[in-house]
Amino acid sequence: MIQNLVQKVAAPLLAVAMWATPATADTFAPEDYIGLVEALTDKIVIPAYERFAIETSVFSETLKSFCGQPTTVAAETVTRRFHDTMDAWAQARPILLGPVLNAPGPARFQFWPDKRGTGQRQLRLILTTKNTRVLTAQTLAAKSVALGDLQALEYVLFDDPQTTLLNDPFRCAYANAIADLQRSRAALLLQDWTKPAGFRDQVIGSANGTEAFFDEREAASAFLNSVIGTLEIVRLQKLDRPMGLTVESARRSRVESRRSGRSFRNITLNLETAHAFFTVPGGINSLLEKLPGNDNAQRVEKLFTDIATDLENFDTPLSTSVEDESSRPQLEALLTKLRTLQSLIQEHVAADLALVPGFNATDGD
């Protein structure tokens, strides 16, 4: 029965039809994609992780020294080093592939958003009970990620103006432990990319198939997905969620890094890295420029530039802007541009590059 059925509909069996392959599938050779992923790895990923490793190390040393001899002047240095560390993380955050995704994922560096407030509750308990089991990086590493990440560090440093590292030795020792843990995690992350047979080699060798990628196009798609994912995180988590549907339902408590007042700066740096995926020598633009008459590189450039300008034009912190009626049109316009940019990349640039942007296959479902 089955044989008859198949013979009716199948002639010949095991035939393979090619439909709907992107028109530009043959435009780019494997070496084009390898050139792309190599450029993005060596000019964006590795430098970003190197900087993150350096800044976390400097910050850890600064805190160690400060806690031994706390002074008002040194406290300013601690604050400055914290922002340097957060800058480095905000630049590295758009890298949404490779070892950073290993369990428990990017949350081991920044547990945010904390939608249920579990991290904050744990932090308050630690600070209230002065639990000494969090005072070394080693013991801290075994606890919830929410207690040892950059968000916890921000809370310890900025949440209570009356209780600071200057006047609370426990707080200082705890911050020191978090910074030390972040230092070791950042160093490991860099090492996971750069060591022999590390993730850099998985990317660069993808044309021959590696444990991480079937081929070079899958590797290139993973980088493109990082850009798309970053735009989505900025749009939906960092802006849309705290804004709420109306100004009445806006929640400043949902704004990222609100205690340290660097919410817009995080977004700006996230987008700068995403933008660099296009503009670095050998980046995405270098492939788009090979397509005659294709102006998507220019369209992407204009949107990134417009968005950067819009971000510069906000004159109040995001935590204030989301609850301010007069800032609403500016924020809505920003959301619209981000959505347009994401759509342009996801639906058009991906097709230009003959890459499937992983809509149905990114992480399985």
């Binding site: 029965m1 089955i2 059925l5 198949v6 009716k8 509909v9 199948a10 002639a11 010949p12 069996l13 095991l14 035939a15 393979v16 039809a17 090619m18 439909w19 709907a20 392959t21 992107p22 995704l101 369990a103 428990p104 994922g105 990017p106 949350a107 547990f111 904390d114 939608k115 249920r116 579990t118 991290g119 990620v145 198939g209 590696t210 444990e211 991480a212 990628f213 079937f214 899958e218 994912g229 995180i233 749009r235 939906l236 849309d240 804004m243 549907l245 959301l335 959505r339 347009t340 994401q342 759509s343 996801q346 639906e347 499937v356 809509f359 149905n360 296959a361 992480d363 399985g364 479902d365």
Partner: protein, 363 residues
């Protein structure tokens, strides 16, 4: 990831147009409809279309959708959020309107699939208890605004697709085995120890009747999707190990044993270790596995597990029965197509569309 409710509320039912490419046999049954989720210009929709590609219903969603289940009788369709989403929209297929929204409790999220009891009174959904990480089946009363009646364990971690067996009493559950927590996004937390399973549960008592596992050395083959046919259950798998491994992606359960189907190496390599959905044809004798990483649909004999062929379509993932024996309707990228083991004929192209994971035949 969660889509903005802002757009959900602001978007009209735009983007409903498609271009009919050809009129094959799908068009010969004007009453036949298929429903799937799709992304159009940054907004997620659930869309109902016919064999000519005409869109009859286009509902903006508050986030990315996943599985769709029709009520027995076909009056309503339920569109389920992709994990870790928390919404189900109940759509009246006559009016094309959302008549109800179901949400999970704060300590649960949906996994994207559900099924009804044969009388349509009870809805069963797969959910994650985020406190314990254990899989849960939630039972809701469809006659009382889908009020939650009870929950019981799914018998594993990460329950995904769920189906009612032909006896009308037993639920089959594909437990993917992968632990996730909503606060950690979609990060997979237990790939080294994951233990997927196919479980059978008495839907009235919640009692676990049986559970079946693949061989221990295949524990990273996540059991996610399934299709119940006359010869048993066909299961679609996804491999979570190194990509240098080449794994079979089809398993068949014949009523007694769960068997991983030997797959020719060339076929397995082409499928790229990931099958996203599975369906039987109208005869129940052929199953189609959708493999979006391989950009192909792979066809198999539902009883013997013999390979029958494959067809290529970019980002292929939606697959549902067609009109005739041996026929399927598939979606991938912008396209809907009619396919069989030996042919694939696009039937419609949908502007600015990315078709999502699943396709459900409605009538």
């Amino acid at each position: 990831m969660k889509q903005t409710r802002r757009i959900f509320l602001q978007t009209s039912s735009a983007a409903i147009f498609s271009t009919t490419l050809v009129r094959p046999s799908l068009a010969s049954n004007p009453g036949a409809r298929w429903m799937g989720c799709r992304l159009v210009q940054g907004q997620h929709y659930a869309s109902l279309f016919d064999g000519t590609g005409k869109v009859h219903i286009n509902i903006p969603l508050p986030g990315r959708g996943h599985g769709i289940v029709a009520t027995p009788g076909g009056r309503h369709a339920l569109v389920m959020a992709r994990r870790p989403g928390t919404f189900i929209l109940v759509i009246d297929l006559d009016t094309g309107s959302v008549v109800h929204e179901i949400t999970t409790s704060i300590d649960h999220h949906f996994y994207g699939h559900g099924c009804f009891s044969n009388d349509g009174h009870l809805l069963y959904t797969t959910q994650n208890d985020t406190g314990t990480g254990q899989g849960v089946i939630a039972v809701r009363d469809a006659t009382d605004a889908f009020a939650l009646i009870t929950t019981f364990p799914s018998g594993g971690i990460g329950p995904h697709e769920i189906a009612l067996m032909p006896d009308g009493l037993t639920l089959a559950v594909a437990n993917g085995g992968i632990r996730t927590l909503p606060e950690l996004g979609r990060t997979k937390l237990n790939l080294d120890t994951m233990s997927p399973s196919l479980t059978f549960i008495n839907r009235e008592t919640g009692k676990l009747l049986a559970d079946h596992h693949l061989a221990a050395d295949k524990h990273q083959l996540s059991i996610r999707h399934m299709s119940v046919g006359p010869s048993g259950i066909a299961l679609a798998l996804q491999y979570e190990g190194p990509k240098t491994d080449t794994m079979p992606l089809l398993a068949l359960f014949n009523g007694q044993t769960l068997q991983l189907i030997e797959t020719p190496a060339s076929e397995a390599r082409a499928m790229r270790n990931y099958a996203g959905s599975i369906a039987h044809d109208p005869s129940g004798e052929i199953v189609a596995l959708a493999c979006p990483r391989g950009n192909l649909i792979s066809f198999w004999d539902a009883t013997s597990g013999a390979a029958l062929g494959r067809q290529t379509i970019v980002d292929a993932c939606g697959v549902a029965p067609g009109n005739q024996p041996g026929e399927f309707v598939v979606t991938g990228g912008q396209l809907a197509a009619q396919s069989s083991p030996s042919s694939l004929t696009p039937t419609a192209s949908f502007a600015d569309t990315q078709w999502d994971n699943h396709l459900q035949r409605i009538a």
